[in-house]
């Protein structure tokens, strides 16, 4: 079964709706005159579930009329997703331990390969340009006390 856009939307709504109801239940609904902390999460969660079900029904109807359904995820989209998220994660892991410049280098170095088009020599130029601009804007311009290079493991 291909997961197409409408089905994905229904799944997102149902999952988060169910979570909101389940966790909200633990916070207590309260009474109508004194709604508790859990009331809004439960009400909104119920709304989400309703939307999820309606979306499912619509999807089913569309399928029966023989509409062509395209998968929500394209193979082409996987590469940017992994590289961009990996780059951010690397930045988060390195910023405290090695400082701003190494973290930026990792960010730029990894995210560069999200797009298949770039060349290696260009990467060096982008790295220098980004590091210069970021240090100029944040470190000198806004005076935020970053450790540019650190060593803390």
């Amino acid at each position: 079964m291909t997961i197409h856009a409408d089905l994905l939307a229904a799944l997102i709504f149902l999952v988060f709706g169910a979570l909101a109801i389940a966790i909200g239940y633990g916070y207590g609904f309260g009474t109508m005159a004194a709604l508790g902390s859990g009331a809004m999460p439960m009400l909104v969660g119920a709304g989400l579930c309703v939307m999820g079900v309606v979306q499912l029904v619509q999807t089913r109807a569309a399928r029966q009329t023989g509409e062509q359904l395209v998968s929500a995820f394209s193979r082409r989209g996987t590469r940017p997703l992994l590289f961009i998220l990996g780059a951010i994660l690397a930045f988060g892991l390195l910023i405290d331990r090695l400082g701003l410049l190494p973290a930026l280098a990792a960010l730029v170095g990894i995210s560069w390969f999200a797009d298949a088009g770039g060349r290696k020599l260009e990467l060096l130029a982008v790295l220098v340009a980004v590091a210069t601009l970021i240090v100029a804007i944040f470190y000198f311009g806004l005076g935020i006390p970053f450790r540019l290079v650190a060593w803390r493991f």
Partner: protein, 498 residues
């Protein structure tokens, strides 16, 4: 205090060198991103949110507002010159604007767009100033039930009007509301959805959420998409419009301004809708509709005036009621709240400097746009040649460093990954992540007022239907929902987004 002394006070705030500088920065940045395809005002405002913590509220709001209306302006330049709308709101300008450019009259088209926008911006600004005091006086009488109903209508109609369908629209807005409830509950102090993580006790950080949903998810989605190659061969030509252009365009500008100013106030209508409607009205009002599509100057003047007027009057519900009518306005509202300013009927009384300073600075910003843009057109067009794989790396670096400066904690960076994934999934599901922001901002307002109204009515939900203002609002919401299911609005929306 009368209007003129208020405006005079606003002028004093707006013309301080610092605020002028930030206004200039805002409109310049706004124009630049209006030109660049793939980077819109929502992304830029969310990227700059972390940076505005250090500024005064006046300076940061003035700059962010400048980005917003500057982008509405910059998009028209590329529409006319290279047939590439930087923003959805200027897509319709392409039709006649680019035809004019091909006939060697790009200069006239750009000048008409600039002057029309300036006129519309002035009218829009004046409307905020005029509508402010009476509207705030009405809103002051709103009780909890009315506020809850108002938020409900704003959410429902925005969700219903957005591309992608009513079910998805409402669903995403509700999803945003769930995330809005995270953090300590204002009424009971209970920590909700914190999962034992101390960083979540104050709720989800708004700036992180915005950057993740927009900047990160947009980059992921845009890479690999074939980028339109912009080749501008047309000469700009004579800048000053002919007498005939003036004669034809001034009524179009007037109509466009009026229409845009009205549509801008409505929640969910937005800039794209206003410029599209203005174009259609102009075409059907014209005695020679066959000229449209072949370089009719009215076809440039009306939509440009309309989207600029709408971008000003969109501030009316945001500033005066505290209820943003569009996702970009929700971001602006978030920016106010970062500085501890709650927009709403009390804002004019509590923060007169900020309110009137912003209004006057919007007019100054519109003036700056005319002065700056016409001579600098060549520079803006050159921006189109920046390759996307340079742009996204810089945007990503800016996003990460900006988010890290919020609290110098790596947790914010990891949250960025989470919201990046969420944004990516929402986009893949055909949901508009911008509505998520609206739900996130409006959710807590709705909860607070809803719970208070229920307590005051001793648990009787009929309170929302018994009070006249609240009843009217609820009925409007239902009517909007019903209207969006009819074919007319659907068709109009489909054409507006194509």
């Amino acid at each position: 205090m009368d209007l003129f002394s208020s405006l005079a006070m606003g002028l004093q705030v707006a013309v301080t060198p610092v605020n002028l500088l930030y206004c200039l920065m805002g409109v310049t940045l706004g124009t630049a991103i209006g030109v660049l395809p793939g980077v819109g005002p929502i992304i830029t405002i969310s990227l700059l949110l972390p940076l505005t913590f250090g500024l005064t509220p006046e300076a940061s709001i003035i700059m962010l507002a400048g980005i917003f209306y500057g982008a509405a302006y910059g998009g028209s330049t590329t529409s006319i010159l290279v047939n590439l709308p930087g923003e959805a709101s200027s897509a319709v300008t392409c039709i006649d604007g680019h035809q004019m450019a091909r006939q060697g009259r790009a200069g006239a088209a750009l000048a008409v767009a600039a002057l029309g926008s300036f006129f519309a911006g002035t009218v829009g600004t004046l409307m905020i100033a005029l509508a402010g005091p009476p509207l705030a006086a009405i809103a002051m009488r709103f009780g909890a039930a009315e506020y809850a109903a108002l938020v409900f209508v704003a959410l429902l109609s925005t969700a219903a009007m957005t591309r992608g369908g009513v079910v998805k629209g409402i669903g995403v807005a509700l999803l945003g509301m769930v995330f809005g409830t995270a953090g300590s509950d204002v009424s009971t102090g209970l920590f909700r959805f914190t999962f034992g993580i101390p960083e979540l006790r104050d709720g989800v950080e708004f700036a992180v959420l915005a950057v993740g949903l927009f900047a990160v998810a947009e980059i992921i989605g845009n890479i690999g998409e074939p980028q339109g190659q912009a080749v501008s061969s047309s000469k700009i030509g004579r800048l000053w419009p002919t007498r005939d252009d003036f004669r034809r365009s001034w009524p179009a500008v007037l109509r466009g301004t009026g229409l845009g100013a009205l549509l801008g106030v409505l929640p969910g209508a937005g800039l794209a809708m206003s410029s599209f409607t203005a174009y259609m009205v102009e075409k059907s009002a014209s005695k020679e509709p066959e000229r449209f599509g072949k370089g009719a100057v009215e076809g440039v003047a009306a939509p440009e005036a309309a989207n600029n007027a709408a971008s000003q009057t969109a501030f009316i519900p945001t500033l005066l009621l505290g209820v943003p009518g569009s996702p970009t306005m929700a971001l602006m509202l978030g920016a106010f709240m970062i500085h501890g300013v709650q927009p709403g009927p009390r804002m004019m009384g509590d923060h007169p400097q900020l309110f009137w300073g912003l209004i006057v600075s919007m007019w100054i910003g519109n003036l700056l746009l005319v002065v700056l843009n016409l001579p600098l057109i060549g520079l803006w067009v050159r921006l189109l040649r920046v390759p996307y794989h340079w742009l996204y790396v810089f945007v990503l670096a800016f996003a990460c460093v900006g988010v890290f400066t919020l609290s110098s904690s790596a947790f914010d960076i990891y949250s960025l990954v989470f919201f990046g994934v969420l944004g990516y999934l929402l986009k893949a599901a055909g949901c508009n992540p911008a509505l998520f922001i609206l739900g996130f901002i409006l959710g807590p307002m709705f909860e607070e007022n809803f719970r208070r109204a229920m307590t005051l009515s001793r648990g009787d939900p009929m309170v929302f239907l018994e009070r006249p203002i609240s009843l009217t609002l609820v009925l409007i919401g239902v009517a909007v929902l019903a209207a969006t299911t009819t074919s007319f609005v659907r068709r109009g929306r489909a054409e507006a987004t194509d």
